[in-house]
């Protein structure tokens, strides 16, 4: 405690020099904070976009069709049925399944019309996509069974069909000439990771979509599955593949007539890219911290030379060598730690600034703040030891005579 006082007094006596010495560490730590914030922020925003697609989402697409030797892409064939979906729903680890019947259609409400995607889905769809309602209610399983002409509108559709702000719930929207009663609206979800407007959609019971839009009542466009937890996605994916192979009577070497995909692959690829970037940025920042540490060492060495007489005097009046060592070490650790703190504050301000100017999402993991300050203290010990040792091994009589 006393040593801290002595060191602090010595530092305060040379305020401008102390500040200049700290500068290297301040810049280093601020750089660490800002770069890590940018890296982590980028990673979190990618993660958020992926999560926005749905929780633990697995999508089963039909396989491709071959017409005269030309193979179309996935989804071109019709192989998946609502019964496939019900069978999958019984698998352990599956939280919910919804068939999806997709179509594009011109829709009309009153004097306004709009072209949008109309998806026929099951009531489980909102859970699978983690998509809350903005108003009204979602349609029920009864509506699916009876192929009821009810619709739930996405926000973009609401804005285009009801620009005057009246509530769409209870009103009628005409899809492909068929009037549907609007029972609810979905909360805004924004763009998907691929830049699509997810709110530009209308959801109706998939049975109604089959009857009124696609005209064929056997097959669905795809199946959306939600796994109970993120850890079991791969397991569920394998089970779904196995089950569908059984149901579709596919034996190797025959190719699957469907394709099971999950977003975890995309998510992990994206987050590992983010991690690499974060690591690189942190590496650059760490180098600047070390340079800052060398700066501290230089100034402390100069300081030892400049204060040789002071050291001699302190020894003459009774300071033991170890006390001198501790004083100089404490000085450099205090400098480095204070520099670390100022750097954190500047880094946080800089992060706010970048976030405001560049409209980048920013995230500062608290562990990095603790780590930066701790690391600067370590820089202080490491680069302060040599000058401190040099000071403490001075012979008092030579130190006193030093001019």
């Amino acid at each position: 405690m006393k040593t801290v006082r002595i060191a602090l007094d010595a530092l305060l006596r040379n305020r401008s020099r102390s500040l200049l010495t700290m500068l290297g560490v301040i810049i280093g730590v601020a750089a660490v904070i800002v770069t890590v914030a940018i890296g982590a922020g980028a990673r979190v925003s990618v993660q958020n976009q992926i999560n926005a697609l749905g929780s633990n989402l697995i999508v089963v697409m039909p396989g491709s069709v071959t017409t005269g030797g030309a193979r179309s892409g996935f989804g071109s064939a019709s192989t998946l049925t609502p019964d496939d979906g019900m069978a999958i729903a019984k698998l352990p680890g599956v939280a919910a399944v919804s068939p999806v019947v997709s179509a594009r259609s011109q829709v009309v409400a009153g004097a306004n019309n709009w072209q949008t995607t109309v998806d026929g889905v099951a009531p489980t769809y909102t859970f699978i996509r983690t998509w809350p309602m903005a108003s009204g209610t979602f349609f029920s399983q009864n509506d699916v069974v009876s192929a009821a002409k009810v619709a739930v509108l996405g926000q973009t559709v609401v804005q285009n069909l009801f620009p005057d702000g009246t509530s769409p719930v209870g009103q009628t929207v005409i899809i492909k000439g068929v009037p549907f009663t609007i029972v609810g609206t979905l909360a805004a979800k924004g763009q998907s990771g691929m830049g699509q407007d997810q709110d530009d959609t209308i959801l109706i019971p998939y049975t109604a979509a089959q009857q009124r839009l696609t005209g064929q009542t056997t097959y669905v466009s795809n199946l959306m599955i939600s796994a109970s937890n993120a850890g079991s996605i791969n397991q569920v994916q394998a089970q779904v593949t196995q089950l569908l192979e059984q149901r579709h009577r596919i034996v190797p070497p025959q190719q699957d007539d469907f394709n099971v995909r999950n977003l975890a692959d995309i998510a992990s690829a994206a987050s590992s890219t983010g991690a690499i970037m974060e690591f690189l940025l942190a590496g650059v920042a760490a180098v600047s911290l070390i340079v800052g540490g060398i700066g501290i060492m230089n100034i402390m060495l100069v300081s030892v030379t400049e204060r040789t007489r002071e050291i001699g005097l302190r020894m003459a009046v009774g300071a033991r060598a170890r006390v001198i060592l501790r004083q100089f070490l404490t000085e450099s650790v205090l400098l480095a730690t204070a520099g670390g703190f100022i750097g954190v504050v500047l880094g946080l301000l800089g992060t706010q600034l970048v976030a405001a100017l560049a409209k980048w999402p920013m995230m500062i993991p608290p562990t990095w703040i603790a780590f930066s300050v701790l690391f600067s203290a370590m820089v202080g010990v490491f680069f302060g030891y040599y000058p401190a040792r040099k000071a403490s091994t001075l012979r008092p009589i030579e130190a006193l005579r030093f001019e």
Partner: protein
């Protein structure tokens, strides 16, 4: 009462590789409590080396040194630092006050290392500053004080741990005549009124004249050791028992 300083056959040889320089060649001396001793001699006579060894800032090459009855010639660095801290006070030619540090903080400095409690330090420092007459300058930094004032602060600093011996190395070397006289009168007063033992190194006879005993060094040997009567001439000093 045992002597404050007792050296026997004290030698200091500097080994410069090609040749050896004898700074002190067999010195025998004793300084009793309450003495005011001036050490004189031309430069290179060994007087400074002698004082550094007595002040435990330097080690002798050979010989015995008993400080307050304790053999100290071969102590470790820490043990010597502890004795300097508790039993010795230093006054330097160039004052050696810490810059940008107030007078009272400078006076407190030795107490940081001798373990005096926080609250006590300020009180003791001001008390000693009052004795040397600079208590009104407590909050001044060294560059706000005259040379004489700075040296008085330095003297107050040497007093704070109630040392058994004060070592003053050319304390008036940087001062004008009038100020030198004031400082020497202060030393005289500290010696006579407070019974403080003082060992002072100087090459000025005027300054040495304030001391009760003058030891003259030449070429590493004591060539003269005499007691003075108040204003009069000197009488030879042989037996340490006659001192004071």
């Amino acid at each position: 009462m045992q002597p404050v300083v007792q050296v026997q056959d004290l030698r200091k040889v500097y080994d410069l590789g090609t040749q050896q320089v004898v700074a002190l060649g067999s010195v025998d001396l004793a300084i009793e409590p309450g003495e005011f001793v001036a050490v004189m001699g031309p430069s290179g006579s060994g007087k400074s080396t002698f004082m550094h060894i007595v002040g435990l800032l330097d080690e002798p090459t050979a010989g015995n040194y008993r400080f307050e009855g304790r053999e100290v010639a071969n102590l470790s660095g820490d043990e010597r630092a502890d004795i300097r801290s508790r039993r010795l006070g230093f006054v330097f030619q160039s004052y050696n006050l810490l810059p940008r540090t107030t007078a009272v903080e400078n006076v407190e400095l030795p107490m940081l290392y001798s373990g005096v409690p926080d609250k006590e330090r300020r009180r003791i420092a001001l008390e000693k500053m009052k004795i040397v007459g600079v208590d009104h300058l407590a909050d001044n930094a060294p560059n706000q004080m005259s040379g004489g004032q700075q040296q008085r602060v330095a003297i107050a600093r040497s007093l704070v741990n109630n040392p058994g011996l004060i070592l003053a190395d050319e304390p008036t070397g940087a001062l004008d005549t009038k100020t030198s006289q004031d400082v020497m009168q202060l030393f005289t007063r500290l010696n006579e009124e407070h019974g403080i033992t003082i060992l002072l190194v100087t090459h000025e006879p005027d300054v040495a004249a304030y001391a009760k005993r003058v030891i003259t060094f030449r070429d590493g040997h004591v060539v003269e050791d005499s007691l003075r009567r108040a204003q009069g001439g000197s009488i030879p000093h042989h037996d340490k028992g006659e001192a004071a």
